[in-house]
């Protein structure tokens, strides 16, 4: 299963970005192969509608769960339709923390 985490930088030590739509990077982690990759968020510098752009990007990466500091109002219904689970974590959490916890 693949998960997506909104990330502040492209390192594993980075903490979770408090914005979903405009976070600089998405960390895509595969719980099966334990492969971690960082992808630039195409919605980062969008004039408007960053949330929906980021949502479809994450959905195209086949992520089944998304972690972020917060989700905007437009994103809620989109992820609900796609049956992707949203998880809001505290912004002190790092990418590493999440991956460690998921391994257990």
């Amino acid at each position: 299963m693949k998960i997506a985490i909104s990330s502040k930088t492209n390192s594993i030590e980075s903490s979770v970005d408090p914005r979903f739509g405009r976070c600089p990077f998405f960390a895509i982690y595969d719980t099966g192969s334990t492969k971690l990759e960082f992808l630039t968020n195409p919605g980062r510098e969008a004039q408007g509608g960053a949330g929906p752009i980021a949502t479809s990007f994450v959905a195209n990466q086949k992520a089944e769960k998304v972690f972020s500091g917060a989700f905007g109002a437009k994103i809620n219904s989109l992820f609900d339709e796609l049956k992707i689970q949203m998880i809001v974590v505290t912004t002190e959490t790092t990418i590493k923390d999440i991956i460690e916890k998921l391994k257990k």
Binding site: A70, G72, N76, D80, L82, V88, V89, T90, L102, K104
Partner: protein, 144 residues
């Protein structure tokens, strides 16, 4: 005087199919009538007869009063019985419903999450797998 507006019924999701058709009709017989089963009626049947909830519990899940639930449920059974006996097709559509997108909070790692796949049974935290979960009372808008 205008009546009180109908309260929105909360449903867990939409049915897998849009309706049912009868088969094996006799030649020349005309069963063209269609029975429209509302989403809320489908949900009432699902809760009571499929999940085996009692009506009080089902009424809570749909956020309507117990007597209102009973009326929805009775209408649902009547419509289905009518379709069976008279050989009509059933279309599931309409009704005043909203979708249940409840949020949950894990008391162990303080993360907040939803349950879009509507999995039944005990809900576990997707992050730390703990069972210490409370339902949030956030009503729409941005979750923070």
């Amino acid at each position: 005087m205008i009546g009180r507006p109908i309260k929105t019924r909360v449903v867990a999701g939409t049915p897998k199919v849009a309706g049912f058709n009868p088969y094996g009709k006799n030649e020349g017989e005309n069963f063209e009538e269609t029975i429209f089963l509302l989403y809320e009626e489908y949900e009432a049947l699902r809760l009571c007869d499929y999940e085996n909830d009692n009506q009080t519990k089902a009424a809570e899940a749909m956020k309507v009063s117990r007597p209102t639930f009973t009326r929805i449920y009775m209408r649902a059974r009547h419509k289905i019985a009518k379709a069976f006996v008279e050989g009509h097709s059933i279309h599931i559509e309409g009704g005043k419903v909203s979708y249940d997108n409840a949020w949950y909070k894990c008391n162990k790692c303080n993360s907040i999450f939803n349950n879009p796949k509507k999995e039944n049974g005990p809900i576990r935290c997707p992050l730390c797998n703990s069972l210490d979960i409370d339902q949030c009372r956030n009503e729409g808008g941005t979750i923070k």
